[in-house]
Symmetry: C2
Subunit: 158 residues, 2 copies
DNA sequence: CCAATAGAGTTGCATAACGAAACCAGATTA
DNA sequence: TAATCTGGTTTCGTTATGCAACTCTATTGG
């Protein structure tokens, strides 16, 4: 049977995964953040099969994560560029990178050292904060009583 | 052919996706964060097929994201609980949730209102910050010259 | 004591998704 | 005119996924 989809799920995480939750989509977005824009470049840098790449690019364009731009002055040339929506996946990518660096560091290479281009400062560890700036862990989180109709089980431990 | 794997990829994002990058794993982790612990509960709350659930749970246990605990006082009873590694996926989940809330809000329901249990404060939007606390966007990021051997294309735009 | 029920899976089968390589088509270069 | 480049689509065989049915242990009800 087909993969299950979550377009109509009440859970926004599920809906997000619907768009970028497969094996390749987030890696394509990541590659786009590195500056890759053309079909062949995605194909070579990711080592993805071309049919899959075509399918994923189309889907990302459909979902407004990428924009397909015709830059063909001589011959067919297209570029896939991040939209604002795509660019806003940055925290997701960074969160995954930091998690991967922490728990699955590459044995023979140091972690990628990302820095702010202007200040030269390294990037801080992502933290979930409350409005006052206090760090919030999984266990600290709750859903107010009068708005817990969405997620099954959300009341118990949120 | 089988899905491509990235165990040995130099990219920590790819390695992270290797462990939680499929359709179900992150949703299982999310559900675990809500407090779900038993096989049947995961099955019912997620609507996942039992064989797939079994496979994913095993894989998450293998990867040390979940811990399988035998709580069988009378009859076989197991619980799948988050490890520290699993709990540290919290920022990833929150980042996805905020992205989903922003770009794919549920038409008929408000977004889940997560708050700090103690302070009652809502959770702040995740931001990527540099060491000084300045927000950093995709375009601001770079990789220092002497450490850019890891990711193809990382130099151009990081 | 026997039947029914629950928890935790496993097995079998059909279908959809994936991956590799071949193929196609317009435009450019040699 | 042939070879090449870009951007795909097609074909085909292998996996993965999903559903339903089945297993096995243990508890509960009568």
């Amino acid at each position: 049977m087909a993969r299950k989809r979550f377009d109509d799920s009440s859970c926004s995480v599920a809906r997000a995964l619907n768009e970028v939750g497969d094996w390749w989509s987030l890696l394509i977005v990541l590659q786009a953040m590195y500056g890759t824009r053309r079909f062949v470049d995605f194909q070579q840098e990711l080592g993805i099969a071309r049919n899959i790449l075509g399918d994923r690019l189309n889907r990302l364009v459909d979902n407004d994560v990428l924009r397909k731009v015709d830059v063909g002055e001589h011959g067919p040339r297209f570029e896939y560029r991040l939209t604002d929506k795509g660019r806003d996946l940055f925290p997701v990518v960074i969160a995954l990178r930091q998690w991967g660096d922490r728990y699955n560091p590459c044995p023979d290479q140091p972690s990628l050292d990302l820095r702010d281009r202007r200040t030269g400062q390294p990037i801080r560890q992502l933290e979930v904060l409350d409005a006052d700036g206090n760090p919030v862990s999984v266990r600290d989180v709750m859903v107010p009583e009068d708005s817990e109709k969405q997620e099954p089980g959300a009341t118990r431990r949120a």
